[in-house]
């Protein structure tokens, strides 16, 4: 299992793996917002957490469609389906590797982008923490979408459309927890705990449904 994790990480880092494409996209989205909104620093710091979350959400949807499609194209998926190792575990491990290669860099880049948005230290920290807790859920939901669209040659947009409605709760609780940290009366912990619960919930449901979809899609 660790060998699968290491292989997927290596593949993401090598040329064409696309690990940094997500971060670049994230930076592009967030960097253009101040130009569009104008030099109103208060407004920027107010919408900062939301913009960071939208950017991270869109960036983590980017490479999802290749999660299983690349494996299917070279025949590796056939062998993975045949092993004694439960397919659910294989999927979970692939999700973990995918998140480490594409989701974790977004979390690490978020403080820098928080500065672009004139956010305070507390807001930056809270946003980073909510991204850390919330972005795995996006990958786990996305795995199910990627598995459904695995046989479609250009399933990229379809995966995003399938997955986006399901990620809305992640976005809502992620952003509200980040705001709660800066705005005094609202408590931080309840939305943050719900965010963690969502991630744990999809850590079970996502790989399970992805494994079912992969078995059904084999041809």
């Amino acid at each position: 299992m660790t060998s699968l994790f290491l292989r997927d990480l290596k593949l993401a880092m090598r040329a064409g793996g696309g690990a940094l494409i997500g971060v670049l996209f994230f930076m592009t989205v967030v960097a253009v917002v101040p130009f569009a909104v104008g030099p109103d620093l208060n407004l920027l710091s107010r919408i900062g957490p939301a913009i960071l979350w939208i950017g991270a959400l869109l960036a983590s949807l980017l490479g999802l469609d290749r999660l299983f499609q690349a494996e299917r194209e070279d025949g590796s998926l056939d062998l993975m389906l045949m092993q004694e190792t439960p397919l659910v575990l294989t999927v979970l491990m692939k999700c973990l590797a995918h998140w480490t290669a594409t989701g974790l860099p977004l979390v690490i880049a978020s403080p820098l982008l928080g500065l672009f948005m004139n956010m305070k230290e507390l807001a930056i920290g809270a946003t980073m923490l909510t991204l850390l807790a919330g972005t795995p859920a996006i990958t786990l939901i996305g795995a199910a979408g990627a598995a459904v669209a695995v046989t479609l040659p250009r399933g990229g947009l379809l995966v995003s459309i399938l997955v986006l409605p399901l990620t809305v709760p992640v976005l809502i609780f992620g952003v509200s927890a980040a705001y709660a940290a800066v705005e005094d009366p609202a408590p931080f912990l309840p939305p943050f705990l719900i965010l963690i619960a969502i991630t744990l919930f999809f850590a079970v449901i996502g790989p399970l449904s992805a494994a079912l979809a992969l078995r059904a899609a084999s041809d």
Partner: protein, 215 residues
């Protein structure tokens, strides 16, 4: 205890059409079955059903002589399909060591080392190269090295020798013979002779009854 592969009344559909139906055979340890027939007669479909990658319309595939509890016979099979299941970006060594540790060994045998497997296919010394740098024939041979690094008693081979030159053909025949000699089972779909003593299953296609020709 030697294992045997039992196939009973197998039939499979592609879309609405029955590709083959009521195929039964028994292979015991050390036996090979060559599946022949024109293009589209269902050779690959049969192998994919045996590998558990396609659901059979009726019939079943059983393994006999396995002491441990198994979920599905596919766990005891190697499947070498048209695609090589190797990543172009990774080196041959990284590819093979991944499959070695990911697949593990079936009970009753052990896979050999990566460099040893590459030697056995006549490609020693180039396993540090990215898989994508190799020629089509070399890629095919390295995909065959997968059969050696992780032990599985049953090999399901789909057109194994396509893109191979004559010497690699013979090399592969000796590997298959050695596997059979060690009590393995081989099912191969092929147009060319495999170069080993084998029974033949001739597929006629389009739901025609497939007849077994014998030795």
């Amino acid at each position: 205890m030697p294992i045997s592969l039992l196939v009973e009344g197998l039939s499979a559909k592609r879309g609405e059409d029955l590709i083959f139906h009521d195929i039964s055979f028994v292979l015991t340890a050390g036996e090979a079955l060559v599946v022949t027939g024109p293009n589209g007669s269902g050779k690959s479909t049969l192998l994919r059903v045996l590998a558990g990658l396609l659901a059979a319309q009726s019939g079943r595939v059983l393994l006999d002589g396995i002491s441990s509890e198994i979920g599905h016979p596919r766990e005891f099979c190697h499947y070498l399909g048209h695609r090589n299941a190797m990543k172009r970006e990774l080196t041959v060594e990284e590819n093979l060591s991944f499959w070695k540790s990911f697949m593990g060994d079936s009970p009753g045998g052990a896979g050999i080392g990566i460099e040893e497997a590459a030697e056995a296919l006549g490609l020693g010394g180039i396993s540090h190269l990215p898989f994508g740098y190799l020629s089509a024939g070399q890629q095919r041979r390295m995909a065959m090295a997968k059969l050696l690094v992780a032990y599985r008693p049953i090999w399901l081979l789909d057109e194994p020798t396509a893109a191979l030159d004559a010497s690699a053909d013979r090399l592969f025949a000796t590997l298959v013979t050695r596997h059979l000699g060690a009590g393995g089972i081989v099912v191969a779909a092929t147009h060319q002779p495999l170069g080993v003593e084998a029974r033949e299953l001739r597929m006629t296609g389009f739901a025609g009854v497939a007849g077994e020709v014998g030795h």
